[in-house]
């Protein structure tokens, strides 16, 4: 579809991922996980096709791609209704910001503000 040459999150070229290597235990799940650069590329494609929100989603996803599964699951849990205090949400935001996840951080800050007004904090 495009000139973008996608590699796995580990940096591995998908062409190297063969059945033999999978059998030999020489392929890790991060080899078949999407790379943040690929998500940025997909964001560009979405933006070019009149969907800036989808692009924004892919860019947030690019930030989350670097995080371990357990942390992503924990962050999701923190955003559910009445799971967190405002301070906790802002803490998450600060840590995300520091990890280069500015868009995800903004989502947490916004949630802290709105949850307060709508009574959705813990």
């Amino acid at each position: 579809m495009s000139a973008h040459q996608a590699v796995g999150a580990s940096g591995r070229d998908p062409a190297e991922i063969t059945l033999e290597r999978v059998r030999d235990g020489d392929v890790d799940i991060t080899d078949v996980r999407i790379h943040p650069d690929t998500l940025e590329h997909q964001a560009q494609v979405a933006a070019d096709h009149a969907n800036p929100q989808l692009a924004e989603n892919f860019r947030r996803a690019a930030e989350l791609a670097a995080l371990p599964d357990a942390e992503v699951l924990a962050l999701y849990e923190a955003l559910r209704p009445r799971r967190s205090t405002a301070a906790e949400l802002l803490d998450h935001a600060a840590r995300l910001e520091a990890a280069g996840a500015a868009r995800s951080a903004a989502l947490f800050r916004e949630a802290a503000q709105v949850y307060e007004r709508r009574g959705l904090l813990r």
């Binding site: 059945l19 996980r33 096709h49 800036p52 989808l54 559910r80 209704p81």
Partner: protein
């Protein structure tokens, strides 16, 4: 009850009256469109580009949906133009072939929920169909299947997933009656789907966090159970907020997993939180939110609440309007036709047909490819019971509903391989050992009731091991490869590698069987009026047309030839008789050449024997003559009567229709006609012979009634009749005189 007249007792007993119908009641959300409490569309933006009023509500009063939509969901650059476009103008653009899809999507991006709802509520049913044909994202329509069973039997799941793929479904959704079984189900269905076809997307619908976890481990390739609701209260009751859903959406994308959200009119009323708003307005909030959180698509059109929408006036129309709204927002539309919304076959067909005709990204967001009782989402609008109906409807209208005919030997082979693949993988990974009886039953089964050997604990234990030992799809690939299922291993691995490219994260993406992504990007809908847009390729059209039940004239010729008999043969030219007790039986030109059996299944020889025996009962005798120069039954009967010593003749077509004629009558007048050939049995031919004898003697015949049936006799037999008439015509020789036939008694 005694006061109700029979006509109404009879009508009350019809299936449609099992459905519930509600008096419209806006106060509890039982209203499809335009509730008095729906807000007047409005949008006010301050100098800093911040939305300070939306749909008659000021920012200070925004609930969580308003807030998220106002901050993220609207294209403020086109908002002024979009909000100033009249509802009627936009509605007309929806059906105007000269206005491209992109223009409608551009304007919708600047419309508030109330505004877009207000515009689309103007579309009448046929206009909705046109709008859907133009607005859907992907050019090529598709369909999604449910594959589940009551016992979470991994072997049956795999066999049924392979079967669903064989029938053409490009997405397969499973779920569990027992939550703990989810990982096993995901693995079994993924293997089965890979046996059936490359590129089938698989999901396992469970609670949000567990579903995400399975996605991360590669056990599923898409997610759909990400529910949105149209009011704050119900949204929070669903244990999420727009922010958590936005995060979840990104979490899936971060692992390269496709996802769409779920909503649907009537859900809020069902959960007692509609705030007096119409279903369509609340759904408009959901769809606007879906766009705002960055989801690529929506399954809506009622879904679990379809029957709530279906209970109110205009409700079924609102379900389709919801789908069109998703398309107008530029998103993938998975268009409901999911949970069964009526006990009536007529109503459920009425609800689905416009969408099948218009074409959708997925006609059904869950066609129950298994039997109703095995569907753990609850019975679907369409189920295994209806696959042939659906295939025939595609063929009737020449449209692509995403399904194809699959031949029995092909499906049998796939089911066997799917069962063996799951057996091998589960054994290899130490998840379970399945016995031969279980495997054989699963291959053959039409449903889980046919698999008594299934052990309920097996999927639970397998799932526990999958979770505890952190089995990923890579382990499944390795197990498939090591146990000799190289093709399937390659297909499952290809689905994992597809995550690296991420092209299937884009709007409305599916894979074709060559693993090409078809999406808004690669296969954009380009409908712009007649002669444009999606048309099936010749190969695909042939697939749609060639249902396995179709028969050709050649098939019929072979069937007839199978009844060939030397008990009926030509003995020489026919001459006129003179005995007043003689009745001649005239048969049609193809008899004893190519036609040997009547539509009732009785052979022509058997029919003739009954006729002759009936004549003998009356002290008459018969003679059989083949009329070679006409296929008209009246003429055949008349020719026979004119050769007959008594002046009475019987005409018998090879297909079984028969009459009694007299030599002095005009061809189209006759004494008795037995017209419903498929229902004429031996005793009735016997009676016909008796009556012909009485006519010959001048006695009173017995009244013969044509057997009546409320079955669709014509639907069953007319294709055969057309072919048989064609064969008769081919045997007809205008210059050939009649011949006498001998019937061996």
């Amino acid at each position: 009850m005694t006061n109700v007249i029979g006509r109404f007792r009879f009508m009350d007993a019809q299936r449609v009256n099992l459905d519930g119908f509600a008096v419209e009641d806006a106060s509890i959300g039982l209203i499809a469109f335009n509730s008095p409490a729906d807000p007047v569309p409005s949008l006010v933006i301050d100098a800093g580009g911040r939305v300070i009023e939306m749909d008659s509500r000021s920012a200070a009063d925004f609930d969580i949906l308003d807030e998220f939509i106002a901050r993220h969901g609207l294209d403020l650059a086109v908002a002024a133009e979009a909000m100033a476009t009249t509802d009627l103008a936009y509605a007309r653009m929806c059906v105007d072939p000269n206005v491209p899809r992109a223009e409608l999507v551009r304007l919708a991006a600047g419309m508030t929920p109330a505004k877009l709802a207000s515009c689309l509520a103007l579309l009448r049913p046929v206009e909705l169909g046109l709008a859907m044909t133009k607005l859907r994202a992907r050019r090529t329509p598709s369909n999604q299947a449910h594959v589940t069973n009551r016992s979470d039997d991994p072997l049956l799941l795999a066999a049924d997933a392979a079967t669903a793929a064989a029938f053409g479904f490009r997405e397969v959704e499973t779920t569990v009656p027992v939550l703990g079984d989810a990982p096993s189900n995901a693995v079994a269905v993924s293997i089965g789907a890979a046996v059936g076809s490359p590129g089938v997307l698989v999901q396992c619908s469970v609670e949000e966090a567990l579903e995400l976890e399975m996605g991360m481990r590669g056990l599923v390739s898409y997610a759909e159970t990400v529910s949105l609701y149209g009011t704050e209260q119900v949204f929070v009751d669903g244990d999420d907020t727009p922010w958590s859903k936005a995060f979840l959406t990104s979490a899936y994308a971060s692992r390269g997993v496709k996802m769409r959200v779920t909503s649907g009119g009537g859900a809020e009323a069902l959960m007692g939180g509609a705030e007096g708003r119409s279903m369509f307005y609340l759904e408009s909030r959901c769809v606007a939110l879906a766009r705002a959180i960055g989801a690529q698509g929506v399954q809506n059109g009622g879904i679990d609440s379809a029957s709530v929408a279906g209970s109110v006036p205009g409700g079924v129309r609102s379900l389709m309007s919801e789908n069109v709204m998703v398309m107008a927002r530029g998103l993938e539309a998975c268009t409901g036709n999911d949970a069964l919304m009526s006990e009536s076959d007529v109503r459920r067909t009425s609800r689905t047909l416009p969408i099948l005709l218009a074409g959708s990204d997925y006609v059904c967001s869950g066609f129950g490819s298994i039997q109703r009782y095995d569907n753990m989402f609850g019975p679907s609008q369409w189920n295994a019971e209806d696959i042939d109906d659906f295939l025939v409807m595609q063929r009737d209208w020449g449209v692509d509903g995403g399904l194809r005919t699959a031949a029995e030997p092909h499906v049998a082979a796939l089911r066997t391989r799917a069962v063996e693949a799951v057996r091998a993988v589960y054994r290899h990974l130490g998840l379970a050992d399945f016995g031969d009886d279980w495997a054989a039953q699963a291959v053959d089964a039409a449903g889980s009731k046919d698999v008594p050997a299934a052990e309920l604990m097996a999927p639970l234990i397998a799932s526990r091991i999958i979770r505890e030992t952190a089995v990923t799809m890579l382990d499944v690939v390795a197990a498939l490869y090591e146990t000799g299922f190289e093709v399937e291993a390659g297909r499952v691995l290809d689905m994992l590698k597809a995550r690296v490219a991420g092209d299937y994260l884009q709007t409305a993406a599916i894979f074709d069987e060559s693993m090409r992504v078809l999406s808004l990007i690669t296969d954009p809908n380009d409908y712009a009026g007649p002669g444009t847009g999606y048309l099936p390729t010749p190969d695909r059209q042939a697939e749609i047309d060639a249902v396995r039940q179709q028969r050709s004239v050649e098939d019929l010729r072979r069937e007839q030839a199978g009844h060939r008999s030397d008990q009926l043969r030509v003995v020489g030219p026919a001459v006129a008789g003179s005995d007043p007790r003689e009745v001649v039986v005239g048969v049609s030109p193809a008899v004893a050449r190519e036609v040997w059996v009547t539509l009732s299944g009785l052979t022509v020889v058997e029919a003739l024997r009954e006729l002759l025996a009936g004549l003998e009962e009356e002290g008459c005798f018969g003679r059989v003559v083949r009329v070679n120069d006409t296929i008209d039954l009246g003429m055949i009967g008349l020719r026979a009567a004119r050769l007959s010593g008594s002046g009475i003749g019987i005409g018998l077509q090879g297909k079984g229709t028969a009459l009694i004629h007299r030599r002095d009558l005009p061809p189209l007048a006759n004494l008795e006609l037995y017209s419903v050939a498929p229902s004429i049995d031996g005793p009735l031919y016997r009676l016909l012979g008796v009556n012909a004898g009485r006519h010959a003697k001048g006695a009173t015949p017995e009244p013969a009634r044509n057997p009546y049936s409320d079955e669709a006799i014509e639907a069953r037999y007319h294709t055969k009749v057309v072919a048989l008439v064609g064969i008769e015509r081919g045997c007809c020789e205008p210059s050939q005189p009649p011949q006498e036939l001998a019937v061996q008694r």
